[in-house]
Amino acid sequence: MVDMVRSLLRNLPIGLLTKMGLATLVAPKTSDWSKSREAIMEYVEEREAANRKALGLGQGREARTNHDRTKKYQEVAYYPGCALEGGGHAYNRSTKALGKKLGLNLKEVENWNCCGAMEVKNIDPKLQTYLSSRVMSIAANKMGLDTVMAPCNGCYHNLKKAEYDLANDPNRRGGQFAFSGKSGHATYQAGQVETIHALDWDRETIGRGPGHERPRQEFAEGVKIANYYGCMYTRPRHIFPEKDQGPGSESTSKPHFMDDLLAAAGADNVEYPLKTACCGGAHALSDSDTSTRLVLNMLQAAEASGAEVIATECPTCHSGPGNAPDAREKTLGRKTNVKIIYFTQLLGMAMGLSPKAVGVQENFSDAMPLIKEKKLA
């Protein structure tokens, strides 16, 4: 081997030798190749994924697809929804502040409307489909974005539901043409945008954004947190096709994205059995006896599992248990001590934002004493 190299060096012309030497330092490139490279890589990945799938192996190359998603989530259409402009303003503020801190671009959906919520769906589900599809249509056709991020569980659920109904129900699809034709905007076609929750968004971008900002690991050390996801984030399963897809995806029976995020901030997540229970928010006004009992279940279970904080991801889940302490105290005979804080607020504070910047003063349950006691800010 050594002899061979020696004889090569002796016999080859000097020019060629120099060229080979340089090539080891600077690789030659075809100009204008990047697009072809991407196309080939895409095919290679598809092929690999198909091979692995055919053999029943796990998802390969997960790191790379995650990287693509991280890039995609740098700029998303932000759909706050009505609740985040009213009672859930703290969630709005903290989501925006967190996005800014992470160096991400949140573009609020222009002239957005209500997603239809539970109430319009109860009156007529088709109207809810139209209302939700209008939001997605604006994001896709007017703003040219392919991802809508909705922090409110209700909005997230409704956008997902509309997406599912439009993709699978020709009847609904027909109705959309009539509505959008009359109101003069482009009809939403299923698949134009991907709807994600603030949890998906944070999970893909924290630590991977332009500034590689991360929560401080020692932030919530020793703070016991119950992670509460609520009804609308995981149910019903069929409208969330990307969930329950094995490692790296969200589980509908035992969701864990919030646990993961808060664990990164050093929180001590407790085993909370009512992660996806219902807070009765739908009937907070019309049937307060039922909703008070459901909220009490939720608070008592959190206390029993040793939690000091319930981290929420939905304005209704936040206002329900944070509100009407008198009615609860009367039913239970004592006060409950657990505090309700949005997960975006906890993450924001873990990344160095002040409690005011993440809107703790707008919370329903007064969390300031706890934040001071645990030195969270």
């Binding site: 539970m118 009937h283 039922t290």
Partner: protein, 190 residues
């Protein structure tokens, strides 16, 4: 009809005698329990079709009575009389008079979708409950529930302006609804 759900036996149909002796054997107390036969005098043969014609009720015919919905139900856990499986059974059998016995609690479904998640036949029981509640109101069996009034006030605002504003919805629904519980809900505090 399955009778394993004890709550389905009406208290007035259960007869227990404190002191009872049969052929010299003491069968007092629950030993002498007698369940009076339930009499259904009339059927509404169109009941299932009527519910299926309302938004949300379309898939009721798929139900095969496994009971997963009731088992998963949030409201059933705090009120055993709230029983989606049983109501779907009654609707499919056309037993309108029996269904009407529960007319005042059917609207209490909190739409948590646990039933829809659990249902192996994609009946979407949550939507069926809403359709049933609407049916009761349309037929005049019950006045509009607080929940329906809230839904209507909310929807009107969305249709009118495209958005809702918390304060206006609460104001609107409380002024048009007979205030029963809502004052205690404490949403006023903000």
């Amino acid at each position: 009809m399955p009778i394993h759900e004890k709550s389905l036996i009406r208290p007035e149909n259960l007869h227990v005698q404190e002191h009872k002796e049969v052929d010299g054997v003491d069968v007092s107390g629950h030993w002498s329990t007698f369940i009076e036969t339930r009499v259904v005098s009339d059927y509404n043969e169109d009941l299932q079709d009527e519910i299926a014609a309302l938004p949300g009720g379309e898939l009721i015919h798929r139900c095969w009575q496994c009971g997963s919905c009731t088992n998963a139900c949030t409201v059933h856990a705090i009120n055993p009389d709230f029983n989606p499986r049983y109501w779907i059974y009654l609707i499919r059998m056309g037993m309108e008079s029996e269904l009407l016995r529960d007319k005042d609690i059917i609207w209490q479904c909190v739409s948590c979708n646990k039933c829809t998640y659990a249902c192996p036949r994609d009946v979407v029981p949550e939507a069926v409950m809403k359709a049933t509640a609407h049916w009761l109101e349309l037929k005049g069996h019950t006045p509009k529930s607080h929940s329906t009034i809230f839904d209507e006030v909310f929807s009107e605002q969305v249709f009118e302006t495209g958005k809702i504003e918390d304060g206006r919805v609460i104001k609107g629904s409380s002024s048009s609804a007979p205030v029963r519980n809502s004052r205690r809900a404490g949403w006023w505090t903000w």
